[in-house]
Symmetry: C2
Subunit: 171 residues, 2 copies
């Protein structure tokens, strides 16, 4: 089990790995503070509103799409969607063609809240993150990371317990 290639990472690769994790962590903290202070939102809640409001066809997504997009557990999403719904920022309704599914939609109030925090949010991202990037830095970053993201997304879709393999494995 778990046969590992003995090769350690060279320091350069380790550094890249740690840099990504650390930058994301620091950025998240900075952003969380602003969101809490100015919009009474957690980062996850903001992400949900942002994905729904800024990057969804009709302001709607299925729970699974959201969980995979925002990157965390489905059960956690159920919880947060419940909070947002209670706050009137999103609504939930059974999915169109699949009775099991739930479609989450951002409400007008949700859009308001999003608009309210966005400027400050952008400020924080700018001052913490973008200001330390060189001229074409953000483009270069995206070019490097987008394929990585896509690659990872295509892997075991995250948040999905592989409840059992299809055919193989022992009875």
């Amino acid at each position: 089990m778990a046969d590992h290639s003995e090769e350690p990472l060279d320091p350069e690769q380790l550094a890249a790995y740690f840099a990504v994790m650390e930058v994301a962590g620091l950025l998240r903290h900075g952003v969380e503070e602003q969101l809490r202070d100015e919009g009474d939102l957690s980062f996850v809640q903001f992400q949900l509103l942002a994905v729904l409001g800024l990057d969804s066809p009709a302001g709607s997504r299925s729970m699974t799409e959201l969980a995979d997009r925002i990157v965390f557990s489905r059960s956690g999403l159920t919880y947060q969607a419940g909070l947002l719904e209670k706050a009137g920022l999103v609504s939930r309704a059974p999915a169109a063609h699949d009775e099991r599914g739930v479609t989450v939609s951002i409400t007008a109030e949700g859009r308001e809240r999003l608009e309210r925090v966005l400027p400050g949010h952008v400020d924080v991202v700018r001052s913490l993150f973008l200001s330390a990037l060189p001229a074409q830095g953000s483009a270069a970053l995206t070019e490097l990371l987008a394929p990585v993201r896509d690659h990872m997304r295509s892997q075991p879709p995250r948040s999905r317990t592989p409840r059992r393999r299809r055919g193989s494995s022992r009875p």
Copy 2:
């Protein structure tokens, strides 16, 4: 309060921001699974052992250094350090010159555990992250992100409640 520059981020910058956050999130999930399965460690615990074992002068750091480095709350660190100590992977002792401080050191057992999970950890990072980077990708990434990290680190040191400003502000 909170005067915001109205300028929105251009899409390119937004994309970079989201890409970093998403890659870090996905990578963290992947890595967490492996650490849990093969080493019975949370990601935070692994980070603590890694910083102590691989990037600390004598395998020791103060609580504050660790909290700032690993990026999370001081109280959370107290909790995790407690768990690691109970598991015998680190030890805690009052700091040398400051009676208030606590110095955390990795134990032999801690190093063992670290060695045990490292190969699998490296495999995951490689297959999830590095494999999707082009040739000089990791170097380029580090070059871009290292200044960002340093910039952020120099900001309000994280995890430090600014309990009150020095002179200014109202009484």
